[in-house]
Symmetry: C2
């Protein structure tokens, strides 16, 4: 049976199956959902068993388990390591969702649910491709090793150690990850660079209790204002990060990479309009693609302090804090940046408050070779299914494992994604184009077949 | 029966009665407590009826009702207007209370409850004094008009209009308010100045939804950082407010007032230690009393934006906001300051975000004459009960009605309080020294008697 026929006849069951997976609230960023995380990992293991993967295991880490599975065909075949993550971002603000975040909902051409793009739906492209190949050919074109982790959204704190420990079971020729977007729904992309990350929290503590602003104002340092002053010092008026040394180690783009950059056309007006904006952050002209591929960032992700309920309360709060993420580009070392950040924050802190800085997680950036046989196989697979050659792009997000694969397992990663930039990952109404979900299954199957011929 | 004997024999019933009043969650700053506010006003009206006040009324305003009562003795006697408020601040953070905030709890020499100092307990000093006088003499030494409002903690938005409308029923020679602290538990104080207020909110809106920080960071303006930049621009490094014109109209202290200032000794080390601090907000030497009496302030009372739950989420939020209060001193016009504030905030706003500024409430500052017969009566009353003459002080807080009494009713206000600066008003574990609560009843009765002889 051709894959097209197969997908046609299994259309409903494949979507139902995905919906079951999406219904599990596997939110890794909040400890309240620990049981859901465990349930999700077990659900996945059963799924992999049911399609015929062997050696399936739930490997516990210090936090959330990793799902492992493999299928060995022959020592003469290359081994592809399929990596994905089954954990998702929180759904809040829930009130902005048009349907329940953990109840997959078909609306128009899209399937809506938290995690449908990032990364459960894309993982299911590979799972369905393998299921098809095993059902129809009773073998696979390559050996497969799968590792699906539950801590990607919290910076994969236990993955590197797992890779070290299980190195022998993870021997592979190449890794494949589908967690990066296409250019748009018709134009696939192969990602050659990922940003790293330092995720930090600054906690400013002032007086030992909330104080009446009329009786202590102007005398005691206000922790909110102290925090705002620190944050305002992190960037200059043109959005440049002010941490000394922050930009020192950056590897600039090669000639070839710059050509790829020029190949990306983004309509800036449409871009702004879709976000409800009229201006960018910077006064100087913005090259959106260059910003994402080759420029580091620093963004506050949340801030809280004092009275945040309805109405008014006139206090100087005891405490204020912010969570912030720095996205790093090739050659920036997150450990070095974290230290530079701490030193700088302390140096710009006003007097009369205490500053605590927590580094929640770090991830190394990655820039990949683009002329390997596996990249060529992926490009050919895209072309045969989508009818157009993929563009080579950088990615603004962070997939820490790619640097770890290179460093610990010695392999490159093919980053072939099937969702789109406007699919609202990490936002309300996350979605995935159903047509591209099914094309993703076909592309994965074709990629594995081409990789097996190499 | 002497008042001492009376208070001894009624000790328990007086405290029980106060505890009932304190048990009502009359939080005016949050609309969830509207029913409690109504219940509290009704409770108070019944109490005033029960002690023999006449003409008691519940006067509805646009928001929370005002409790009115009067007692007429003779046209030849002066009329004292007793003002207080029955509304209270929210109790949060509730986890920092050592006993339930709305269950009055005796611990050591103190009674603990939200509102016991600010202002329910102090109101009950006057109510018990009047009750004693009426029970034992069947008359009063002066005519009394009482107005007890439920909107003081939200800036008394409807009080001025009420004063205008009910001017005829509010004719009086002097007002008395007990809502300002003593110097310490042994040293009473008469307050001659109050600060005004502008309470504002800044809401910064960026993209129309929360965005993935990896895909939009450095391109789109981050509303948290835009807000922090605005806030950081509000004050310089030495805590001076940067709004142009902010300090222009300030009336400096008179020679006599400066003498009172010199009469206040605050141990700065003890002051800092009690707050868990090692330094003040400013690098220059601080005169705490001068700061409270004669310097305006600007403090953020709360800030919120983006992800504030446990763990990590990597977003650029759609929105961030802060609530802030400016305390104003004599001659600063809150309407002028509010306009200066709005103009300045807009002028320092970064591009790429939208700024909304709400002025929640305003209040005029007040500086009072200190040589009136009623101030002298109050000073004599304090001296006879506490055994020591009161000091004359300014107050850092805001009681908007004092300026309104002067402007609309043409009367001065005697500000005689019975709580202490460390009684944690607006904070967890608000308290009142029981001994001074009973001394407050005696001082009120003595003051009314002396005022009647003038």
């Amino acid at each position: 049976m051709s894959i097209k026929e197969y997908l046609k006849s299994h259309h409903k069951s494949i979507l139902d199956d995905l919906a079951d997976f999406l219904s599990i609230k596997s939110i890794s960023t909040n400890d309240e959902y620990q049981q859901d995380i465990q349930d999700c990992a077990r659900f996945l293991m059963q799924k992999l068993n049911s399609i015929g993967m062997t050696d399936t295991k739930l490997i516990q880490t210090k936090k959330h388990p990793i799902v492992y599975a493999s299928y060995h065909v022959s020592d003469n075949k290359p081994t592809v390591l399929v990596y994905a993550h089954y954990d998702v971002q929180p759904a809040d603000p829930i009130e902005l969702w048009n349907s329940e975040p953990f109840k997959a909902t078909l609306r128009g051409d899209y399937l809506y649910a938290r995690g449908v793009s990032d990364d459960k739906g894309q993982l299911y492209c590979h799972i369905n491709a393998i299921e098809y190949l095993l059902k129809t050919t009773h073998t696979l074109p390559v050996n497969i090793v799968m590792i699906i982790e539950g801590e990607e959204e919290i910076g994969s704190p236990n993955l590197a150690q797992f890779l070290e420990e299980y190195k022998d079971k993870l021997k592979a020729d190449v890794a494949v990850i589908s967690d990066t977007p296409m250019i748009n729904k018709d134009q696939p992309a192969l990602c050659f660079s990922l940003r790293g990350m330092v995720y930090a929290e600054i906690i400013v503590t002032g007086p030992n209790k909330d104080l009446h602003s009329g009786q202590y104002g102007g005398i005691v340092q206000n922790p909110i204002q102290a925090l705002c002053s620190i944050i305002a010092n992190l960037k200059d008026n043109n959005d440049k990060v002010m941490i000394p040394g922050f930009y020192d180690d950056i590897l600039s783009l090669s000639r070839k990479e710059k050509e790829y950059l020029d190949d990306i056309a983004i309509n800036q007006d449409t871009y702004l309009t879709e976000l409800g904006l009229t201006k960018f952050a910077k006064e100087t002209p913005v090259n959106i693609a260059k910003q994402l591929w080759a420029e580091p960032t620093l963004d506050c992700n949340g801030i809280v302090g004092g009275y945040i309920e309805k109405g008014a309360k006139t206090i100087i709060p005891s405490k204020a804090s912010t969570k912030l993420s720095m996205r790093l580009v090739a050659n920036q070392d997150p450990l070095v940046i974290a230290e530079q950040f701490k030193t700088y924050v302390n140096s710009v802190s006003p007097q009369g408050v205490n500053i605590d800085i927590d580094i929640h997680s770090i991830a190394h950036p990655a820039r990949m070779a683009i002329d390997t046989i596996y990249i060529k196989a992926a490009a050919a697979a895209y072309k045969s299914i989508f009818g157009i050659a993929p563009k080579f792009v950088g990615e603004g997000g962070t997939i820490p494992v790619v640097a770890d694969f290179k460093q610990i397992l010695g392999i490159d990663t093919v980053m072939m994604g099937f969702n789109c930039p406007d699919d609202c990952i990490h936002s309300p109404n996350e979605r995935l184009l159903i047509e591209n979900f099914f094309k993703g299954i076909q592309t994965s199957a074709t990629f594995l077949s081409l990789a097996g011929q190499s």
